[in-house]
Symmetry: C2
Subunit: 478 residues, 2 copies
Amino acid sequence: MENKEFVKELTKMDEDFAQWYTDIILKAELVDYAPVKGFMVIRPYGYAIWENIQKILDNEFKKTGHRNAYFPLLIPESLLNKEKEHVEGFAPEVAWVTQGGENELSERLCVRPTSETIICTMYSKWVKSYRDLPLLYNQWANVVRWEKTTRPFLRTSEFLWQEGHTIHATEEEAREETLRMHKIYADFLENYLAIPVVMGRKSEKEKFAGAEETYTIEALMHDGKALQSGTSHYFGNHFAKAFDIKFQNKEGKMEYCYQTSWGMTTRVIGGIIMTHGDDRGLKLPPNIAPIQVVVVPIAQHKEGVIQKVEELKDKLSKHFSVEVDIRSEVSPGYKFNYWELRGVPVRIEIGPKDIENHECILFRRDTLEKETIKLDKLEERIKELMVDIQNHMFQMAKENVEKHTFIARSLEEYLDIFKHQQGYIKMMWCGCQECEDKIKEEVSSTIRCIPFHEEKLDNKCAICGKEAKHMVYTARQY
Amino acid sequence: MENKEFVKELTKMDEDFAQWYTDIILKAELVDYAPVKGFMVIRPYGYAIWENIQKILDNEFKKTGHRNAYFPLLIPESLLNKEKEHVEGFAPEVAWVTQGGENELSERLCVRPTSETIICTMYSKWVKSYRDLPLLYNQWANVVRWEKTTRPFLRTSEFLWQEGHTIHATEEEAREETLRMHKIYADFLENYLAIPVVMGRKSEKEKFAGAEETYTIEALMHDGKALQSGTSHYFGNHFAKAFDIKFQNKEGKMEYCYQTSWGMTTRVIGGIIMTHGDDRGLKLPPNIAPIQVVVVPIAQHKEGVIQKVEELKDKLSKHFSVEVDIRSEVSPGYKFNYWELRGVPVRIEIGPKDIENHECILFRRDTLEKETIKLDKLEERIKELMVDIQNHMFQMAKENVEKHTFIARSLEEYLDIFKHQQGYIKMMWCGCQECEDKIKEEVSSTIRCIPFHEEKLDNKCAICGKEAKHMVYTARQY
């Protein structure tokens, strides 16, 4: 009885994808809504996913020579105003502190929406000579952007992220750095989150406010919408000029620095949910799952069962992150649903009969398959499963992207596809903003990126018919 | 020449302790001042110390069953107002967000000065039954308190911390939790930061706003002032009543929860500096040092020297955190001062002669002693040194505390001590606030804590002469 109820509570993915998403994040206890509209509370299970993300990315950043630092939360309005494009991009969506203690402030302070301006201010103090370069800093922090429409993880007025900010002596080095981080993001999504990505750069219109070039990794969600999952910006020396970040080069001359920034946010947790989830709930790739194996006893009141379960936990905990569920007030069936909803990759079921036969049942969340395994082979088998599940989940996601990637050679074809389908539409593009605006107007889709490897689908722009400059990926977006 | 200049730049500790502190934090590149008064930038070397602190504490928290979560930065004024004592304590020192995007907000939001109110709001949603209890959550976050007089690490308008917030079914459990965390803090300071502490509870006056009991660990700095280094609060069910956090107990009756909170901040980095530092700069205990060993080549232009240094790094990096300094533009002497200023516990000096003799020189930062050691004994010797230095630093700090702990049996004695000395003054106390206020008025000292183990110095209060209730530690404070 209770099992059926459990599943019934989840909206079916195909019925209402948005409601399905909301059901999962709330019922799997990843997040909750905060008392202030647009803000979220990240609950322990959701935060544990973020901690794993942090651990892995932080390690990648440090291996490539980056160091963490911390810059202030509040930025004076005058600093925000220093770089023209930047302030135009961010000023409309920041929160302003106007009172400190019992006093009105003489200058408004914005809660950082991103930290270029404050970091540039410090860099201009710290950098004197080419010997001080590069500075390769990263910050793990919260940022606030006053969003009108919000959804937990995907778009919230406060979110957590890392923001890397680097300055270099040459354009070449800075461009290399931008691409290095772009690659680290892509590898992270594919190898850990099992999310296939398209790598490329943004169009002029979609670039970050103040950037010369923005690189993005785009991921396709199960409903055919794209999720921008991590961006890396090359700034040239726009900010260096605005903030006067100069250094003495080897020849003794003063030069402006070249700069990058790059960020990934709690949004990718939304990406995991919408790439892998199903009607039973969340599905977590083993490489990122806070709990990789859950042990559920059958007939746990029988002698020796709980003891065996604890024994398994001790043994398996050396290699995996293991949880046991010995609650007495709910049935094994309830527990199965409970942990499936939470996306734990592997479940072990074990009862008195199994113990007698020196075996147990293994259930894998990705394929929902069960197998019986001898206890002395258990460790080895779970090791294999971790790799299998990770690979299989990536493969499934990849197939889904392929199935939902289309080609349009004319506006008519383009619109026709959106009548029946959602997904990436690849098309040739002349490079002008009118054609970009046209697809947004018609079907709310945008150019997600100009990929590194452009296929030549045609000679002319699918929208206006003029000579094509690029092949682009377009989609509706989160 | 350049070496002398280096040291000359540091103010002597005995000449001007405050300036010495400022010199160290800036010149060792731990922090810098931010564009907004009272805010600090934590530079990579300072942040690396914080990362080590986080890693160790987080591990202790998880071992004792706590989980991390994240609650919003901004708290509506109406929530802050719910618990009377709490709002009185914090309202005067918060920063207020009054505008979001382009709109005036209908209700002011405070930037969290601490998160009891927002977390209680969520707990009241999440807790239904005794089965949901306890909730043992912790958050790593930034908080803002609008301070008038600030000093980096010690008191800043924004700082980083962890705040644990737990709720329990019984008073007993909550009280146990409070003391458990109090003990974890004390052990952390003593075993990792090599800072001896006095453990005890705060007087009524010095308690946290809204707490029934506040426990504190106090540390004595080199100038004889006390630093409150970590507090744990038992709330009873004050907040539970204000925020309606109720649960159904085993008997089916509704009850209010019992609650705790506990926090440690970036302030302890100031504690490390002021406990261990000397006229050469910072001195870091090996258990917390971001760099434990630095290798400085002598005559590095000679064949094979750099190569040997890199070889040592590779070998030693398996056990220690190692840095090599092969800058060619500065002398070995400059490098010695540079790394001494940064408090690296062990330095290796190695040149062509040493390489010929299969040896090197080891320098320890705590005693400034040098020794020659055969290269094949190096690893083993550094392992010993790490333990020795850690213990020795703790011992030295302990002796300093003992030397600066005094006893006063009357107000006269009390004031007399402050004429010549700074430190802890132990005294008997009647328990009334007038006597507490008296010493503050006279010499700006306060009751730091009522220790667990009270010595009976006398029968009567040192200040008013009435019957004594407690023995207390008093001091001037940071």
